[in-house]
């Protein structure tokens, strides 16, 4: 399941999949600005057909956070 997530991040942030890790976020990726974060949220939501709450959105800073909250919404990352 993380493959699909990485593909979206790669497309939105315009970076290689190999450059993405759990720690990736605004601090390590230059293109990870606030607008791209919003676009990323939007495209992840429509891919997984879920909706994050405003509080979750506030708390998502890294790929790891995305995984955590996606799991809370029932997405399985056991791979």
């Amino acid at each position: 399941m993380s493959q699909k997530l990485y593909e979206i991040i790669s497309r939105v942030m315009n970076i290689q999949i190999s450059d993405i890790s759990d720690k990736s976020g605004a601090e390590s990726i230059e293109t990870w600005d606030s607008m791209n974060t919003y676009i990323l949220l939007d495209e992840i939501e429509s891919e997984y057909k879920i909706k994050f709450s405003l509080e979750e959105i506030e708390n998502i800073k890294t790929v790891k956070d995305f995984k955590k909250y996606l799991q809370n919404h029932g997405v399985d990352f056991n791979d």
Partner: protein
């Protein structure tokens, strides 16, 4: 259903466009009262798909007022050719969006009146300062009212306020030559308020159009860019079996094809009705189909449920020739470019064949299900024009008449015989408010029979009319098959009391070779003679496309003088048999 790519696709792709250079260019500014991130990137990518370089400017967040009013703003330094001003109802109504009824009815009316005037003033300042075209959005009509169902019994409530704002804005813009309206309310109605507005995006970024709808908005806006750049399409070429009707007439027979009687047949009827509507406003229809001519024509003429009939098509290529040859012949016979044509065919193999061999033609990827055909057609942004003239509306009929003329020409033994039977009548008219749009349109798009290829916007023609040293006239051409409409234009400069110059002299190619051009020139010469002028001066400015006009002046009797052609007014005018000339 019309679908779109993700916004991130456009944003990422837009970064790769820098190195691409196209011949056509456009400079676009976006002014908005809210965040429209990604819109300019999407427009750039969509322009590149049309082989157009788009350079963009996005006004700062809610800075549109200052940018327009300050003549030294970055907006004007950017010098856009086309600008979009996109405003939202929340911003314009302010607190009234929530507490509409904190004002009395008359105060609300005054509020609307003031807002319309403010906006219009702003728009006028912008077009005057920038010389650019402005597209201003109308306002989305709120669906919620605190009054609930009683809203409908409330005088000038929030809904009526917004409707009134839209109506007044539209009415005032109607007479503004460089300002156009974008039906933003229609956009939201089409895609739905619940889909296009995401409260979370609104709260975290003042985003009032959800990200995944930005590409759909861009698709609409491209509909304004295409006609400005002359990228709009004029002709729809269509296949028959499984495209205009269900089934194959050669196999299923006249009674076996699906049209009208069942759900599948109704989908084709809907598609045909949409095509007919485009035909009625000036889009040319033509057929390119592998079929037995007699089978197909019988359906077109006799099938009780058909909407489109033989008379609606300007050209019928129903044969067993390959579709590429047919396509080229259609372009030739109708005298239009392949790049003005759109092709509809259910068969992917045929589509690929056309795409590969005549890539200028826009080949539509028709979905498998005919229930989507009508939607695919009405979602196309390729048929837009910024002006629809009477000639446009008559065009379909004109092409039918043209087909009959060609048939007469083929059956006539020589050109004399043909002209004799055609009864050409040329009516010379002075330019006035009714003819200005058509005159401007002809100067903008006539390429072949055009001596000087001077392009004039309506505003310029209007100035010329008021100039005592200019004559602006046009020619309406009528013959036994019907009215060709206004198809010739001339603009003469009265340089002094003895010399006049032809600034513009052009003829639409569909009336070429019938003496109309000679009739127009005779009229100018007679007029010059009456005013005591001695010499008429003409020029031929060569372009890639105006070869047909190259020898017109010498053939008429003009003599070469340096770079000019001159005609001594004392000489008699040219004899034109079989042509009636009248002046209105």
């Amino acid at each position: 259903m019309y679908s779109e790519k993700k916004l991130s696709y456009y944003i990422t792709t837009s970064k790769t466009l820098e190195c691409k250079k196209f011949e056509k260019k456009i400079r676009i500014a976006i002014l908005s009262s809210f965040t429209l991130n990604g819109l300019i990137e999407t427009l750039k990518v969509k322009c590149a798909e049309q082989q157009v370089n788009c350079t963009g400017f996005v006004s700062g967040y809610n800075q549109y007022n200052q940018d327009i009013l300050n003549k030294n703003s970055d907006l004007y330094h950017f010098s856009p050719e086309l600008s979009f001003l996109i405003l939202d109802t929340r911003t314009i109504l302010g607190n009234l969006f929530y507490s509409t009824y904190s004002l009395t009815t008359s105060q609300r009316k005054e509020f609307v009146e003031n807002k319309v005037n403010e906006l219009l003033d702003l728009a006028r300042v912008f077009v005057k300062t920038s010389q650019a075209k402005l597209i201003i959005s109308n306002f989305v009509i709120p669906t919620y009212s605190p009054f609930g169902i009683f809203e409908n019994k409330t005088e000038f409530g929030i809904r009526e306020m917004t409707e009134s704002l839209n109506m007044k804005l539209a009415n005032k813009i109607m007479n503004e030559p460089s300002i156009y309206l974008y039906d933003f309310n229609g956009f939201i109605t089409r895609y739905g308020e619940k889909n296009t507005f995401d409260y979370r995006q609104y709260f975290y970024g003042d985003i009032k159009i959800a990200f995944n709808y930005i590409p759909f908005l861009a698709h609409d806006l491209i509909g304004y860019i295409k006609p400005v750049l002359g990228l709009n399409r004029k002709c729809i070429v269509i296949d028959l079996d499984n495209t205009l009707w269900g089934g194959v007439v050669g196999e299923d027979g006249f009674d076996g094809i699906k049209i009208g009687d069942d759900s599948i047949g109704r989908a084709y009827v809907e598609f045909q009705k949409r095509l007919l509507a485009l035909h009625e406003r000036g889009i040319i229809l033509a057929i390119n189909s592998k079929n037995n001519f007699d089978d197909a024509i019988k359906v077109l003429n006799e099938h009780p449920n058909m909407i489109l009939r033989e008379e609606h098509f300007a050209c019928l290529k129903i044969n067993w020739n390959d579709k590429v040859s047919n396509m080229k012949e259609i372009a030739n016979e109708l005298n239009i470019g392949l790049d003005s044509m759109v092709f509809f065919d259910d068969d992917p193999v045929n589509r690929e064949f056309i795409k590969t061999n005549v890539p200028q033609v826009l080949t539509v990827d028709l979905p498998n299900d005919p229930s989507d055909f009508a939607d695919v057609l009405i979602m196309m942004n390729d048929f837009n024009v910024l002006q629809i003239t009477d000639e446009d509306k008559k065009r379909g009929k004109m092409y039918l008449q043209q087909r009959k003329r060609t048939e007469l020409e083929k059956s006539s033994s020589n050109i004399e015989e043909f002209l004799k039977q055609l009864n050409v009548e040329v009516k010379i008219k002075q330019a006035d408010e009714f003819t200005i749009p058509r005159i401007s349109q002809l100067t903008l798009k006539t390429n072949q029979f055009n001596l000087t290829t001077q392009r004039y916007q309506e505003e310029e023609i209007r100035k010329f009319i008021n100039d005592p040293n200019k004559i602006v006239g046009c020619a309406q051409v009528v013959d036994k098959f019907g009215d060709n409409g206004i198809t010739g234009v001339f603009i003469v400069n009265k340089d002094n009391s003895s010399e006049w110059t032809l600034d513009t002299f052009l003829l639409s190619c569909r009336v070429m070779g019938r003496g109309v051009e000679d009739g127009m020139l005779n009229h100018i010469i007679t007029k010059a003679k009456n005013e005591g002028v001695k010499k008429l001066i003409g020029r031929f400015i060569s372009t890639k496309k105006n070869k047909p006009a190259e020898n017109f002046l010498p053939n008429f009797g003009f003599n070469k003088e340096g770079n000019f052609w001159t005609y001594s007014i004392e000489k008699p005018t040219k004899e034109i048999p079989y042509l009636t000339l009248s002046v209105e």
